[in-house]
Symmetry: C2
Amino acid sequence: MIRIAVLASGGGTNLQALLDACAAGRVDGRVAVVLSNVPGAGALDRARAAGAAVELLPSRGVADREAYDRAVLERLRPHAPDLVCLAGWMRLLGPAFLAAHGPLPSTRGCPRVMNVHPALLPAFPGLHVQQAALDYGARFSGCTVHFVDAGTDTGPVIVQAVVPVLQDDDARALAARILVQEHRIYPQAVQWFAEGRLSLEGRRVRVAGAAAAEGALVQPAS
Amino acid sequence: MIRIAVLASGGGTNLQALLDACAAGRVDGRVAVVLSNVPGAGALDRARAAGAAVELLPSRGVADREAYDRAVLERLRPHAPDLVCLAGWMRLLGPAFLAAHGPLPSTRGCPRVMNVHPALLPAFPGLHVQQAALDYGARFSGCTVHFVDAGTDTGPVIVQAVVPVLQDDDARALAARILVQEHRIYPQAVQWFAEGRLSLEGRRVRVAGAAAAEGALVQPAS
């Protein structure tokens, strides 16, 4: 059973997917602590409802990113997380935070911070990505669970899922379709980590024991 | 019946898909001429076998791109193409060529040059894209038929298809899987053009008469 820390800035639906997967035994782990930088974030209510520890560390107006990162580390430390999951976490994490959760022998080269992004990276990194996909005229988008590095949505890909972009989509409709897939693939990625099946070769993530097309990716739903 | 000019530098399998689709009546058009910049290109043999006119205009050592583009235009002009299809054409086309095949009232804002690219644009433009997708660790790739603008693989997307990237893929295996989809979607895009169903809004290509998810995209094969 791994101990998971979740960092969330928003409503927390991906946090909820992780909480539900742990409760249902689909993830061999437990959300030990949820930290938010936004007072009143829905994620905090979800954490409390599930009996997870809650840490609030407001970031508004905080200019010293390194000091903030150190404060996050201090709040997480007592909970001894094996894995940190970003779930709608709207701040970049600096090198000190990432170094503190870097690869261990037991993680076979894999860092210990994951994120989910609502696009098929490397397409559409950053913010407002559904509108970007629509404006580009992309026929497909999706979501990506990846290890976190110092860049914005640049880390090694663990799993992706594809959804179609429909002709009459707006950003809200596309976001909702993608979110369904985020809730599928994020617990899947965490479970692979918990099972010790992930390893890193260059920036390619291998999933041990997976069939060629099974496990290493999630096929489109439709 | 539209008249199609195909520009090809290589073996010409996408040309063959267009020739076959025209012969089978899946495209309401005819390949009037095939122009290659590479002596001995397989595309030329395929064109001759199908009874299309053939133009060879070697580009090796040609430094004046504008002059070369003008020469291409002159070779195509007698064949009066309604649409120019790039199929493994390894040269950028300049503004004079693109202006000569710009939008007409009858094409509802759509330019008259198309290309097929072996990746899910905007991911992996340019060359060596299958290796780039593998090195990135992408779980999906695919192909894109798009209108051509002055950039490299930046024009408006007409249709895309997705394929999985398998854990043990090399660039050759991935390229072969993608090529199957290229041969499906390129004739489809040309047929939509021939039927007058395509229009351009900003950089979004609309497909008239298509259901929300039908026509506007090709679902993954598996």
